[in-house]
C-alpha cells in the first residue's frame, strides 16, 4: 500500500464527508492510502488576487509546509499532497506558484510564519485525486471494475477551479476529458454537456440563491437534454449548488425534472463493488438510489 499525504480542507470532514470516505475507499482498492495531515488549517477557500495581500497566503503556505514536513518525517512513499476539493486545489497550487516565483513574497510569508519549525521553499507538489487516478491509469482502473456502469448515462461537470486559470488547471480549460476518461474506464455511457465547465455561481449561493438556481438550471437542463441520468462532480460547492439548489430551480421552473448529482468517487465505489456504507448515497438532496436501483446497480 502506497502512502500519500492528503489535505481535507474545511468541508471534506463535515458536509462533504462522503466525498472523503468514498475517495479513501476507492484509493484503498487501488492500493493507495490517503494519509490525512495531522495538522492542517483552512486554505481560505479563495485565492487572494490582489498584489499587496500576502497575509491571506499564510494559511495555504502553512499547510504546504506541514505537508512537506509530515511526508519527510514519516517517510511516505509519495511526498505529493493530494486534495479532493477543487477550491483547495486552486488556492494551494496558485499560492505555491507565487511562493516559487516571487522570492521577495516567499521571504515575507516565511517571516509571518516565524513560529514554524522550518522555512517553506515551494517544493510541495499539489495534485488532485483525479490526477492520481489518471496516473494509476485508466486501464488499471477498468481492471478493477466488477460492476460496469454500462447501463448508466453519466454527464461529468467540472466547474471552474479544477480547470482555470490554466497554469494550475488539471486538464484543458476549454475541453477537459479527465472525468470522461475515468467514467469510460468504469464502462459508463458518457454524456457530453456543453456547459460542463461553466461556473455554478459559487459562493453567491449564500447571498443570491435565485441567481445560482438559474445558473444550475442551465447546466442541468443541458445535461438532461443530451440524455444524462446522473451528474458527477468533484467539488463540494458545485455539488451543493447543483444538488441542493434543485429545490429552488423547481420553484422557478415547475417543469424541471430532478436529476441526481454525485461525486465521481461514489460511482467508482459502485463500479468496484465496494461496501456502500461509506459511499454516502443517502447524503444527497436528490436521492440517487432510486435511479441506481432501477439500473440494477444497487441491491434492495
Amino acid at each position: 500500500m502506497k502512502r500519500i499525504p492528503y489535505y481535507p480542507g474545511c468541508s471534506l470532514q463535515t458536509k462533504a464527508k462522503h466525498f472523503e470516505t468514498s475517495a479513501m475507499a476507492v484509493a484503498e482498492a487501488l492500493d493507495y492510502e490517503l494519509v490525512t495531515l495531522p495538522r492542517w488549517n483552512c486554505c481560505g477557500a479563495v485565492h487572494s488576487l490582489t498584489t499587496d495581500d500576502l497575509m491571506h497566503h499564510v494559511a495555504p503556505v502553512t499547510t504546504l509546509l506541514r505537508s512537506k514536513e509530515f511526508s519527510a518525517e514519516n517517510h511516505l512513499d509519495d511526498s505529493r499532497l493530494v486534495v479532493l476539493c477543487a477550491m483547495c486545489l486552486n488556492v494551494l497550487k496558485r499560492t505555491n506558484k507565487r511562493v516559487q516565483e516571487l522570492l521577495e513574497d516567499r521571504t515575507k510569508i516565511n517571516d509571518f510564519m516565524y513560529l514554524e519549525n522550518s522555512k517553506y521553499d515551494g517544493s510541495t507538489i499539489v495534485i488532485h485525486f483525479l490526477e492520481l487516478l489518471r496516473e494509476i491509469g485508466w486501464e488499471t482502473l477498468s481492471q478493477k471494475v466488477k460492476h460496469p456502469l454500462s447501463n448508466l448515462a453519466v454527464s461529468p461537470y467540472y466547474g471552474c477551479l479544477l480547470l482555470r486559470p490554466k497554469e494550475v488547471g488539471i486538464d484543458n480549460p476549454e475541453a477537459p476529458t479527465i472525468q470522461e476518461d475515468l467514467l469510460k474506464s468504469l464502462d459508463a455511457k458518457v454524456i457530453e454537456n456543453p456547459l460542463k465547465n461553466r461556473c455554478c455561481g459559487s459562493y453567491h449561493t449564500l447571498v443570491d440563491k435565485d441567481v445560482v438556481a438559474e445558473l444550475g438550471y442551465d447546466i442541468l437542463i443541458n445535461a438532461q437534454k443530451a440524455g444524462a441520468e446522473i451528474i458527477t462532480t468533484s467539488c463540494p460547492l458545485c455539488a451543493f449548488n447543483l444538488d441542493q439548489r434543485q429545490e429552488n430551480i423547481l420553484k422557478k421552473h415547475p417543469d424541471f425534472t430532478k436529476i441526481p448529482v454525485v461525486y465521481f468517487t461514489e460511482l467508482m465505489m459502485i463500479a468496484f463493488d465496494l461496501p456502500l456504507e461509506k459511499a454516502g448515497l443517502d447524503m444527497h438532496y436528490v436521492d440517487p438510489r432510486p435511479l441506481l436501483l432501477k439500473k440494477e446497480m444497487l441491491h434492495e
Binding site: T14, L49, T50, K166, R198, Y203, V211
Partner: protein, 134 residues
C-alpha cells in the same frame, strides 16, 4: 447618451491604483468583448466586464458603485479566453478590495436565515466572507 469624460490627476491616480492592486495593465484591453461574451454572470450585471475595464482605464470611479464588481465570482472564464492575456477577475477583485478596505461590506450576516446557514458546506461561508466582507 453622450457622457463627457474628464481625465485629470484624480482619474489617473484611480486607474494607477487599480493597476497596482490587480497587477494588470488595463490600457492593454482592446475592448473586444470576449470577457463579456464568456461571462456566465453577465445577465446579473449592470455593466459588462469590458465596460468595467474601460471605466477603470478612464479613471471613472463610478465603476465602484456597480453591481458587476460584486457579481463576478472569479470563475476565470474571461481570464482563460482574453486574447490580450488580461485577467478581468483580478481587476474586479481590486475594485472590491478598494471598497472592502474602507469597511464597506457587500454581505451582512444578520440578513441570513440561521436555519438556511446550517445547510451550506463550510467553504461557502469562508469564500463568501473572503470575497464580500472586509
Amino acid at each position: 447618451m453622450i457622457k463627457k469624460i474628464l481625465i485629470n490627476d484624480a482619474s489617473e491616480a484611480f486607474c494607477k491604483k487599480v493597476n497596482e492592486l490587480s497587477g494588470e495593465t488595463v490600457s492593454r484591453c482592446d475592448q473586444c468583448g470576449t470577457c463579456t461574451g464568456s461571462c456566465p454572470m453577465i445577465i446579473e450585471m449592470d455593466i459588462t466586464p469590458s465596460q468595467m475595464m474601460r471605466l477603470v482605464l478612464l479613471g471613472d470611479e463610478s465603476v465602484m458603485e456597480t453591481k458587476t464588481i460584486w457579481i463576478c465570482a472569479s470563475c476565470y472564464s474571461c481570464t482563460a479566453r482574453c486574447p490580450r492575456g488580461l485577467d478581468a477577475s483580478k481587476v474586479a477583485e481590486a475594485l472590491r478590495q478598494i471598497k472592502l478596505r474602507q469597511a464597506i461590506d457587500y454581505m451582512h450576516m444578520e440578513d441570513m436565515d440561521p436555519e438556511e446557514l446550517k445547510k451550506f458546506p463550510q467553504m461557502v461561508l469562508v469564500a463568501a466572507y473572503r470575497k464580500l466582507t472586509g
